[in-house]
């Protein structure tokens, strides 16, 4: 229960503007992986000290191992967010941490001792497959007191998958959706209830992406290129946009945090474009390409390298769009005050295949900028370098020896601009069991991709 007597309410914040006034994050939860490394240890949740006044600042201070090996921890989500701000019975207490390969869902208690999270419950992947014919959990959002998770395949790893519905006690309710329409693949989703809409994107079938990336399979239509607009109340796909060559492999979906806004964005990873959508005055949804990252030639390779936009994120005030070109090695910041006309305001380089920044501040970076998480006040962007074990092994095989790392980028929300912080660096190559990789990050108090207002 929320025992803060100055608040009558549940988790999160009354509005995005209130969220921006929250205290600075002092802890980070980041998934760390041994799958694909040869180290026969479970993936784990790393707790990182992000308090600059603490003697253990910029260090992993605890590690919660999953029960077994082979999960491939990837993305995660809270049991509750600002969508239940009005529900005093709810509390942001549990992180749901899925394994993409195992389909296990780990429910982790981060509230009893925030510096030492503990495993509360495991929903076994075999149970999920048996009850719902779904596998490969990805994105988690809470819907008031319920939880839905995008599942990328059926029990055999074939597309299109669907959406798993859990209740607040982490029991399987069943499949959330009523009608997938013509959806061919599944990946990320975000909802905006005041417009009765959810938007979902497409990666590929687990059997296609789990073994690694065969570029030629894109031409065989094994990867997604469509965006789905759902009737949220009816839980059915209402309209599908074919993005074509402009929208190959659309991944992270972000609506404005402002619950009244209809504007949203998706990063098309392989096309390396940012797609923007909104509802026009006539009530029809409209999409357009607003940013196009050019492929870069490599002196020894026959095929130019795409940026591979693996993640996008919006600041809490909806003013800045951030994204990573995992293969090029840069993180970009755009002012999207006018969403149709983004202004390029900042860029930093770390790792990547173009050789522009093998080291930052004297530290070796293996991999490229990948998952990012922005502080609620928009000033600190935490960046990790691993994408997915098999894809890491294709593009950055030296990550097996070096491990991944986390850096912090200082962002200027007033004037735009970014700079890699000189003091904060978490080297996952030095972990106790050997070099690990690091992926998505969450903060105990919510972050810029966790909370939705209803």
């Amino acid at each position: 229960m929320n025992d803060d007597l100055t608040s009558c309410c549940g988790p999160g914040y009354a509005s995005p503007a209130e969220a921006m006034k929250a205290p600075r994050e002092k802890l980070l939860y980041t998934v760390a992986l041994y799958i694909g490394t040869g180290i026969q240890k479970p993936d784990y949740l790393a707790t990182i000290d992000a308090d600059p006044d603490s003697p253990t600042y910029s260090q992993v201070i605890s590690r919660l191992e999953m029960p077994g090996i082979g999960d491939e921890l990837h993305h995660m989500g809270w049991n509750a967010c600002s969508s239940c701000f009005d529900d005093a019975n709810m509390e942001r207490r549990y992180l749901i941490v899925p394994g993409v390969r195992s389909s296990n869902l780990h429910i982790i208690d981060c509230a009893t001792d925030p510096k030492n999270p503990t495993l509360h419950k495991v929903i076994n992947g075999d149970e999920i497959k048996a009850k719902t014919d779904l596998s490969a959990p990805h994105t988690i959002h809470c819907l008031g007191s319920d939880i839905i998770i995008s599942m990328l395949g059926n029990a055999k790893g074939e597309a299109p998958g669907g959406f798993l519905h859990l209740n607040k006690d982490f029991e399987i309710v069943g499949r959330w959706e009523n009608d997938l329409g013509g959806m061919k693949f599944n990946y990320d989703f975000w909802y905006q209830p005041r417009h009765n809409v959810m938007v979902s994107s497409e990666w590929a079938a687990p059997n296609t992406f789990m073994p690694g990336f065969d570029l030629e399979e894109v031409g065989h239509l094994k990867y997604g290129r469509e965006l789905h607009f759902w009737d949220f109340k009816e839980k059915k796909v209402d309209k599908t946009f074919y993005l074509g060559e402009d929208g190959l492999v659309p991944l992270e979906v972000r609506f404005h945090h402002d619950p009244d806004s209809s504007h949203g964005f998706v990063g098309a990873a392989l096309s390396s474009n940012i797609i923007h959508w909104y509802k026009k005055d006539d009530g029809e949804w409209f999409w357009e390409k607003i940013i196009d990252v050019e492929n870069q030639p490599h002196p020894n390779w026959p095929i130019p390298i795409p940026g591979l936009i693996s993640v996008i994120l919006l600041s809490m005030d909806d003013r800045y769009l951030y994204f990573c070109n995992w293969l090029h090695g840069d993180i970009r910041q755009y002012d999207i005050t006018d969403p149709s006309n983004p202004k390029f305001t900042g860029q930093v380089w770390m790792g990547g295949l173009l050789g522009k920044a093998p080291e930052v501040n004297g530290r070796k970076v293996t991999g490229g900028p990948q998952m990012i998480q922005l502080s609620l006040d928009g000033k600190r962007l935490y960046v990790t370098t691993s994408l997915f074990s098999t894809w890491d092994n294709q593009f950055y095989p030296e990550i097996r020896e070096n491990g991944g790392c986390m850096v912090m980028v200082n962002c200027d929300p007033e004037n735009g601009g970014m700079e890699i912080d000189k003091d904060f660096f978490v080297d996952f190559g030095k972990e106790p069991h050997g070099p690990a990789r690091c992926h998505e990050t969450r903060y105990p108090g919510g972050d810029c991709t966790s909370d939705i207002w209803i």
């Binding site: 799958i35 694909g36 490394t37 040869g38 026969q40 090996i69 082979g70 491939e72 390969r101 195992s102 596998s135 395949g153 055999k156 790893g157 687990p206 059997n207 789990m210 073994p211 690694g212 990336f213 065969d214 570029l215 030629e216 399979e217 065989h220 094994k222 490599h298 020894n300 390779w301 026959p302 095929i303 130019p304 390298i305 074990s389 098999t390 092994n393 294709q394 593009f395 095989p397 097996r400």
Partner: protein, 129 residues
Amino acid sequence: MDTDTVTITVANRGNEQFTVDRRRPLLNSLEEQGVSLPYGCKYGGCISCAGKLLSGEINQAAATALNNRQLNDGYILLCVARPLSDCTLDVGVDSHDKLYRNPFASPLRSDELKPDIATPSPINQETNS
């Protein structure tokens, strides 16, 4: 002689030998006998458990994750592969020297794609990759 069992030699673990049931996936049989192996999905849809078949025959009809280049290099998915004869294997990440490939540096020929979309391999084609 028990025809339901075969002998598996794990070359890169000191040529240690194991007697296993032909009807069961190699991953299960070897793990039960103390061989620590990587794995992920356990249904042949990812390549976390891949090993390399150096000699012998296996059935991995349930495997969907390997492309023809990987198959031609001898890779098998231990989570679904069942031995049809005595076999010699390399296992674990140490056997993955040819498993991963940068697709922009080394594209697949159309006959090297996964079997469900690959074009048939030209007859008498010489290996030149």
